[in-house]
């Protein structure tokens, strides 16, 4: 049991971030109109693409003779980039239609 407390103590900054971000995440989108559900989901989808940073670190640290790490890391970078770029572009395309609508009105 004491080892668990020890672990929490060692990572307390991270754990604080987790707890606070849960509340921020809930608070921030609390009053979203249903029209925006889809673009918001798509935008959030792009933001979790931040996992790409982990992929870059894996890739960058891989030894040049470790082909498994190189191959998987490379794949992870490609997939993560797809998530980020595709996510933001799709969201922008959805929202572009909303803004066009405002101009014409």
């Amino acid at each position: 049991m004491s080892s668990v407390f020890n672990w929490i103590h060692e990572h307390q900054a991270m754990i604080y971030i987790v707890v606070l971000m849960i509340f921020v995440g809930i608070e921030v989108i609390g009053s979203v109109p249903s029209v925006l559900h889809t673009p918001l989901m798509s935008g959030a989808n792009a933001i979790h693409g931040v996992v790409i940073i982990g992929a870059i670190i894996v890739m960058g640290k891989a030894e040049t003779d470790n082909y498994l790490a190189l191959a998987l890391g490379f794949l992870a970078v490609v997939l993560g980039t797809l998530n980020v770029v595709g996510g933001f572009v799709v969201t922008d395309r959805m929202l572009e239609m909303f803004s066009k609508k405002k101009k014409s009105s």
Binding site: G30, S34, K101
Partner: protein, 477 residues
């Protein structure tokens, strides 16, 4: 020095994610919010590449990194630009799956790394059971399991939305799923606590089972509920990304991941609320395989058809016409034809507006986006409450490929799977014209009484074709 700048960049990026998400939830600032978050992501990525420094160790393999970034950027931009408006939901699901897979791959490489460190494995055995190693393993495994489930689930959701996969479930599937999940968690716990010598094999077994669980988790859920499932998987991927944050002590991954995890969960619940259903109801599934059409009795009556010219006359001489768009409109890509009809009718002095059900189409907001693409003016789009007040003074309601959102069974039949869902009260209008391709039931797989009511007349055919014909008829009348 560099590492200090990187910390500042990560802080900045974390703030842009929060502000971006906040702006995304308001119609006027949404687009800017997306750009803000994208800018934050860009500096975080390039900051990591050039400034990352872990106790003197910087990143190498720049060729691979930039190659991967380039391929991902080109593929991502092209597919996101080319995708049709109707296929947006499955595109989001696909990208979400990519993120999940990315998180799982990171875990695989890190675990492999951990197992193959020469001399380290001996040290690892000594340290096995210590809180530090256990915490590390826990996070790697969490990232692996959640990432894999999210990836496999998203792929199934993607396949279901583009029609290449059918609903599939077998007796006792819920029990099977729970058993599978328990097995995964049991194996993971064993791996963390005991760290057996065949840990690598065990790790890959857990990986395989997680993929399997993701597939079986999404398969039985009906296609109409896919948006909710995608939103849920979206928040899963957020948590998987946060695991990476723990792994590398990386604050921006942690912030972004948890932020999306929390916001995604709330969004999932909000989407369920818009359909007046609970999340458990969606996941355990009343829609899926359960297609008992109990209330078949009175509905099997006769329906009447209306000819194009009659429909055109009725609409031309009406004072007020309300258009109810649905998925059929999206599939037929008929939004421009729809706007055309609206303009011609307006020119004849008819008051035309659109009644938008919050979950019409395949995703909330789907219809707004679609009609906006055809330049339909914002004030003409009425939300459900507004529209329901207007129906009693409406002469003609034209339903274009919508079904479940106008099904009166949601109000009258407690046995119906959609009972309790708020619907558009189209029956208050004097006349209802329904355009559908056939008499086949809608996505929820249930009969719609509305089609057999005396006020209703059917106008069969592809929405685009029918609208174009209607336009020429209205012009002539």
């Amino acid at each position: 020095m560099e590492i200090n700048i990187l910390s500042f960049i990560y802080l900045l990026a974390s703030v842009t994610f929060i502000v971006g998400l906040k702006m995304l939830s308001h119609p006027t600032t949404a687009r800017k919010g997306n750009a803000v978050a994208a800018a934050g992501m860009t500096i975080a990525i390039f900051g990591t590449i050039f400034l990352y420094n872990d106790q003197g160790e910087t990143l190498g393999n720049y060729g691979w990194i930039f190659g991967g970034l380039a391929i991902g950027t080109i593929l991502g931009t092209l597919s996101a630009k080319r995708v049709k408006m109707t296929a947006m939901p499955e595109m989001v699901s696909l990208f979400n799956g990519m993120g999940g897979a990315c998180a799982a791959l990171i875990s695989i490489v890190e675990f492999d790394h951990l197992m193959h460190l020469d001399g380290m494995s001996g040290l690892l055995m000594v340290l096995a059971g210590s809180a530090a190693v256990q915490g590390f393993l826990l996070i790697i495994l969490l990232g692996l399991i959640i990432g894999s489930v999210s990836f496999a689930g998203s792929m199934v959701a993607w396949g279901k939305l583009n029609g290449s996969l059918r609903d599939f479930s077998f007796r006792g599937q819920q029990a099977f799923n729970i058993g599978l999940l328990l097995l995964i968690l049991g194996l993971a716990t064993y791996l963390i606590v005991a760290l057996p010598s065949n840990a690598l094999l065990l790790f890959y077994i857990i990986f395989g089972l997680s993929i399997l669980y993701g597939i079986f988790f999404v398969f039985p859920i009906g296609g109409a509920d896919m948006p909710v499932v995608i939103s849920l998987l979206n928040s899963f991927t957020g948590v998987a990304a946060a695991c990476g944050g723990f792994l590398y002590d990386n604050k921006v991954m942690l912030t972004g991941g948890i932020l999306v995890g929390a916001a995604g969960t709330l969004l999932t619940i909000l989407m369920c609320k818009a359909m007046n259903r609970s999340l458990t109801n969606v996941l355990i599934g009343a829609f899926g395989g359960n297609t008992a059409t109990a209330s078949a009795g009175p509905s099997q009556g006769a329906y009447k058809e209306i000819s194009l010219s009659d429909a055109a006359v009725v609409m031309s001489y009406a004072n007020k016409v309300m258009i109810v768009p649905g998925y059929g409109l999206a599939v037929a890509q008929a939004q421009h034809a729809c706007h055309e009809l609206e303009k011609i009718l307006s020119a004849k002095g008819v008051e035309v507006s659109y009644a938008i059900h919050p979950v019409a189409g395949r995703m909330p907001g789907h219809m707004n986006v679609l009609l906006a693409e055809a330049d339909v003016s914002y004030e003409k789009l009425l939300e459900m409450e507004q529209a329901n007040e207007e129906f009693s003074t409406t002469d003609v309601v034209l339903i274009l490929g919508a079904n479940d959102v106008v099904n009166p069974a949601a109000k009258s039949d407690p046995a119906s799977p959609i009972y309790g869902m708020p619907i558009l009260d189209v029956e208050l209008a004097k006349h209802v014209i329904v355009n559908k391709r056939s008499m086949k039931p809608g996505y929820a797989g249930i009969e719609n009484d509305l089609f057999f009511r005396p006020k209703t007349s059917m106008l069969f055919g592809d929405a685009k074709k029918v609208l174009q014909d209607l336009i020429s008829e209205v012009k002539n009348s």
